[in-house]
């Protein structure tokens, strides 16, 4: 069921926000290149609202002492910092029980819509 959750202009690039889609709480994410993603808003670790977290490129490494920004976009939990791939909801540490559900999105006539 597609639900309109807000105006596209209300979610700037590189940000996230918590919204209600029907009775389901969703973390909406706008990546820096404009893509819209929707994840379950509840962190599976301690239940924080993921929509209050930060959106960023995943920090990767080529070896000890090396830091670089990769291509994966992650949503970082505002409490303990757990990171989730915004495209699939997987925890970047590959822990299966730390997965969050994702939902299809679309934008029509300036509205953001989520299929819940």
């Amino acid at each position: 069921m597609w639900v309109t959750v807000g105006r596209s202009d209300d979610l700037p690039a590189g940000t996230a926000r918590s919204v209600l889609a029907g009775r389901r709480r969703i973390a909406l994410v706008r990546t820096s290149n404009g893509e819209l993603h929707a994840l379950s808003d509840t962190c599976p670790h301690r239940g924080a609202r993921l929509g209050a977290g930060k959106v960023s490129r995943m920090v990767e490494s080529a070896g000890v002492g090396s830091y670089r920004l990769g291509d994966t976009i992650v949503l970082r939990c505002p409490w303990h910092g757990y990171e989730f791939d915004v495209t699939c909801g997987d925890s970047v540490i590959r822990e299966p029980k730390l997965h969050v559900a994702t939902f299809p999105t679309k934008e029509e006539d300036g509205d953001m819509c989520v299929d819940v």
């Binding site: 670790h45 920090v59 990767e60 490494s61 070896g63 000890v64 002492g65 090396s66 830091y67 939990c77 303990h80 910092g81 757990y82 990171e83 925890s91 970047v92 540490i93 822990e95 730390l98």
Partner: protein
Amino acid sequence: MTSVGESRRTTERSGAAKLPVFDCDVHERFVSLEALFPYLDEVWHGYRPAWAPGPPYDLGPLNGGGMRDDAWPKDYGYGSGMPGSSFELFRDQILDAYDISGAVLTGGALTPGNTHTQAAYALALTSAYNDWLAAEWLSRDERLLGAIQIAYHDAEAAAAEIDRMAANPQIVQVMVWPSPQPLGAKRLRPIFEAAARHDLVVAMHPGGECFQTAIGYPPYYTEWHIGLAQLFMAHVTNLIFSGVLDEYPNLRILVLEADFSWVPSLRWRMDANWKGLRVETPWLQRKPSEVMREQFYFGTQPIPEPDTPQQLLDLIQLTGEDNLVFASDYPHWDFDSEDRALPVSLLGLELRNKLVNLNAMRLYSNRFARVGSSRFTQASPHS
């Protein structure tokens, strides 16, 4: 988790034989510094280490000045040295008193590696000690295995010393007497690289002048001794997060004389922090707990003494029954005998055999395979 009853039943079913004991921590020592002179360049004979060889405590309240009261050679007609200085008494009280297949001599009387003595002298002392160990101890009994003493003032020179001593097939590990400086520091990597190059275990053991608790040297020896685990917790954490174990996946670290009751909680704490703070150490490809389980072993001494026997079994399971190796710490006052610290009646034969033999065989398996040791071939080399 295996209960006492389950463990015993497993033993009954398996019909396993009681395996001999492999002791991962026994301390040899010289009678006096002059014993090293045949192996020490004469230029150093006029020097005396200005370092304090241990924590600043009056050992009067301890048995034998920190040693087993019954381990003094003079009482048995074996000379006037300190406990651990007589091979004959050591043989009588350890090698022949128990069914010992192997014992690793870890030293401890001389720890220039973590002191402030000048680097050149520290390096010379460690080389002399290593040669003395090979000539005066290892050559006397094939059950004896040795550890390389190093001075990490100069990591490249320490690595060269490891390369030199690794030619001896009875050498199985490198001793590190930790100080407050992080062992995972980049400048110390040559030491770990050299150990990995020769399939040598790196063992950490408290000792030397720098081994302090989080509050330095507390007023009483008993406080300091209880607090030994603190520095080990810091070093284990540092080694894991600094990526040393990821860089050398075949490297194995042995933590000695540290108790082990803190291991489960540290493992849980490290995993919890890593999950949220991964961005700070993105080079870690495995959970800290996985690194610990795959690359760390812990000596059983001093064996924890919880309120009930079941709690000890639970603790062994929580720590990892594959990650514990028997250590007696002979001839120190807190010596553990295998039969009383790890009794078959409590552990069951299968678990007892793991702790006193099989785990050590796996720990040293790559080294034994490399040097073609036929005495210790019960475990397959690890990857």
